[in-house]
């Protein structure tokens, strides 16, 4: 999923300063799962914004909506009847959702309430960790299902660096060395011999190196 975290309240309040009526829009997908921008978080932020305004003796009308997906035009269209009645939209979706609203409603200001962080997985209640960087050329089949691009601080392709110790990365004891994990996994799978297969230099053009990417499926158009 795409993970995100709420921005500091000061930053959020500064962005909507001067607005009398805002539409606070959550998303039912990834940001709901990572407890950053679902219906519950929308209600909490709406309440906090109301209180922060009341504290200043000012009125702020916060309207709450949570869309099924903020990154799909079909769902973003549901905002159309409400857009004309507000000064700005505060989006609690990932950056894709914010941009989709901005694209559809050209004359309405849209502000992000979240910082979109990474594509990750849940390691337990309240813990999410980065797992994928969307490089566009998946290597997981060669590395035992553990990604050295997303999980190695240096994105090394052929074994660990000298900073690996006791299975941990030198950047922090909380970070596993990806290549240690890969080695352990290969041992479990009985394919240690593949560890020394050289992975050729990666063509980064399939990732961000090639500029903004698009997928076009003619069969679905």
């Amino acid at each position: 999923m795409i993970t995100a975290e709420r921005k500091p309240m000061d930053e959020i309040m500064e962005s909507i300063d001067g607005c009398g009526r805002i539409l606070l829009v959550g998303c039912n997908e990834c940001v709901t799962v990572c407890a950053a921008g679902g219906r519950k978080e929308v209600a909490l932020l709406a309440s906090a914004l109301q209180m922060a305004s009341m504290k200043k003796g000012r009125a702020l009308d916060v309207r709450e909506m949570t869309l099924e997906r903020q990154c799909d035009p079909e769902y973003v269209e549901e905002l159309a009847p409400h857009i004309g009645q507000v000064d700005a939209v505060l989006s609690m979706a990932c950056g894709c959702g914010v941009q989709e609203i901005a694209r559809r409603f050209k004359t309405t200001r849209v502000f992000p309430a979240l910082n979109t962080t990474f594509m990750g997985a849940s390691e337990g209640p309240g813990i999410w960790a980065e797992r994928c960087q969307g490089c566009g050329d998946c290597l997981l089949g060669l590395t035992g299902g553990i990604c050295p691009i997303a999980r190695c601080a240096k994105r090394l392709m052929n074994g660990p660096c000298g900073g690996s110790g006791n299975g941990k990365c030198e950047i922090s004891d909380d970070v596993d060395c990806a290549w240690h994990l890969i080695w352990e996994r290969m041992k479990e799978l009985g394919i240690e011999d593949r560890y020394e297969d050289v992975i050729s230099a990666k063509d980064w053009r399939t990732g961000r190196g090639g500029g903004p990417r698009r997928i076009v499926r003619e069969d679905l158009k």
């Binding site: 001067g18 309440s47 906090a48 209180m51 305004s53 504290k55 003796g57 000012r58 009125a59 000064d87």
Partner: protein, 147 residues
């Protein structure tokens, strides 16, 4: 000058604090009428939004009262409640509201005197803190005209 009397909402777990409050009554122990009790099936049932709404709608302070650690009827609802209260205290601090206005307390069903003592102490703390800054909203003016 008239003394400020805070409004306090106490979310009380059915299995401990609510019974303790009842026991305080049976023991003829007086506690401030400022404390308005809301019975919940477990302190873990109290969501952050319940506390926020209580503050938004005029409470000066909120108590979440659950079972003693290890005694939760639903295993760990009280631990989860404490985590939520801690999270919310930081959130309130971010918008300039004193985090002391929300407190988590624990007790057993037999601790009537503890309930009365906590209720009195928390009411005193709220009196010292003064009215919730959110109440400035009673004198609100529109900050901008919606287009």
């Amino acid at each position: 000058m008239q003394r400020f009397e805070p409004t306090i909402v106490a979310f009380c777990c059915h299995y401990c604090a609510y019974t303790a409050a009842d026991m305080a009554g049976s023991m003829r122990l007086a506690y401030p009428p400022n404390v308005k009790i809301l019975r919940v099936p477990c302190s873990g049932k109290v969501d952050a939004i319940h506390i926020m709404k209580a503050l938004e709608k005029g409470a000066d302070g909120v108590l979440v009262a659950g079972c003693l650690e290890g005694d939760c009827h639903f295993k760990n609802g009280n631990v989860k409640a404490l985590q939520r209260v801690t999270y919310l205290q930081r959130f309130l601090e971010e918008i300039g509201i004193e985090p002391e206005r929300v407190q988590m307390v624990t007790m057993s069903a037999g601790m009537g005197s503890r309930f009365a003592k906590i209720a009195a102490e928390f009411t005193d703390t709220m009196r010292e803190l003064g009215p919730s800054p959110v109440k400035a909203g009673d004198r609100m003016e529109p900050c901008a005209k919606a287009s």
